[in-house]
Symmetry: C2
Subunit: 200 residues, 2 copies
Amino acid sequence: MAATSPTPTPALTAERILEATEEVLRRHGPAKATVVDVARALGVSHGSVYRHFRTKAALREAVTKRWLDRTSEQLSGIAAGDGDPRARLRDWLRALFEAKRRKAGADPELFATYMVLADENGPAVTEHIADLTGQLAGIIRDGAERGVFAVPDPAVAARAVFQATGRFHDPGYAREWERPQAEADFGSLVELLLQGLRAR
Amino acid sequence: MAATSPTPTPALTAERILEATEEVLRRHGPAKATVVDVARALGVSHGSVYRHFRTKAALREAVTKRWLDRTSEQLSGIAAGDGDPRARLRDWLRALFEAKRRKAGADPELFATYMVLADENGPAVTEHIADLTGQLAGIIRDGAERGVFAVPDPAVAARAVFQATGRFHDPGYAREWERPQAEADFGSLVELLLQGLRAR
DNA sequence: CAGATGACAGATTTCAATATCTGTCATTCC
DNA sequence: GGAATGACAGATATTGAAATCTGTCATCTG
């Protein structure tokens, strides 16, 4: 009746630790989750976890990075498209808004972890923002080359667009995302920004 | 040697209580300031304070309202001007940014009180925002009538502009206001928005 | 010998007892 | 009699002792 582990001791990898950590964070939230919990979930001592991640903060950061990267990757698909840059910009901004809203609703505890990180300006968050702003700049540059947009500097414009839409992706505003008003507000803001970029 | 109070007992008015409360908040901050402190500062019992303000929250709110109204009034001067609406919009947005930044720096404790109120969606904050958005709508409507701006609905555009510039007036972003980048970011965002409003 | 362990010190969190505060109101004072 | 008071109950905050957690490292194990 040996219905036990087919792999007796599946080597302890960083990846396995990240999976377990994500699960623990989902269950307990960033305030309660401990490194000991993670170790227990893996059936190892907490010392072993510290062999792969120097601090608890590094572990939190790695989990959040993985989580954020999933969003970045989805969006990069839209950014890399070759349709009308205006439509692409609209779609991309909407996808960003939807993705954040969905994560906030479906994974409140991981989202709370992300908020902690955002609050303390963790490098993972800074990189995430740089990545997204880069994607935006790509769309805008493309639009400028095609003569659809007229901007002095696509990178600067991207930064402005990203900051202008902060209310619809910055985790600090998550509470507002469920209000009915949010949809209309998002729409009119995006149209205003598109007008601002438009070549005349 | 009666070197005591020239006015023996200057009647306890709501105004005097508000002044004392502002002072107490400035000194102790919203977390530590108590109604008993306010009463002590006035030389009365705390029961007397409750005769003028039904709850501590109402008192906090009244103080913050007064404080916010000072900013609104300053800005209304700019909004009511009759120069080029584009310049007026620029000036108004800059004045709002400057005012918030100055208050955050010069009066950190009162600013913290404001943040508490903003977090709990106090009516005073909602009204403050409605007032500011109204001023913005006035400038934009004026611009539209003069043919400088082209917008479907000034009130909707005002809302969009206000939300787009949130990073430069929303208290949650106060930390960012001292970064050197902030100036440039503010400038490029405002220009983008002005382009977006511009008649073509 | 590479990787895992668990005892350990110092930092942080929890918990319960204590103190303070909020808001009410019967009484007191001009 | 209208305003002020201060005792009071329940809610909230503070405090300090105990428990838990983080991060290190000498030791162990395969």
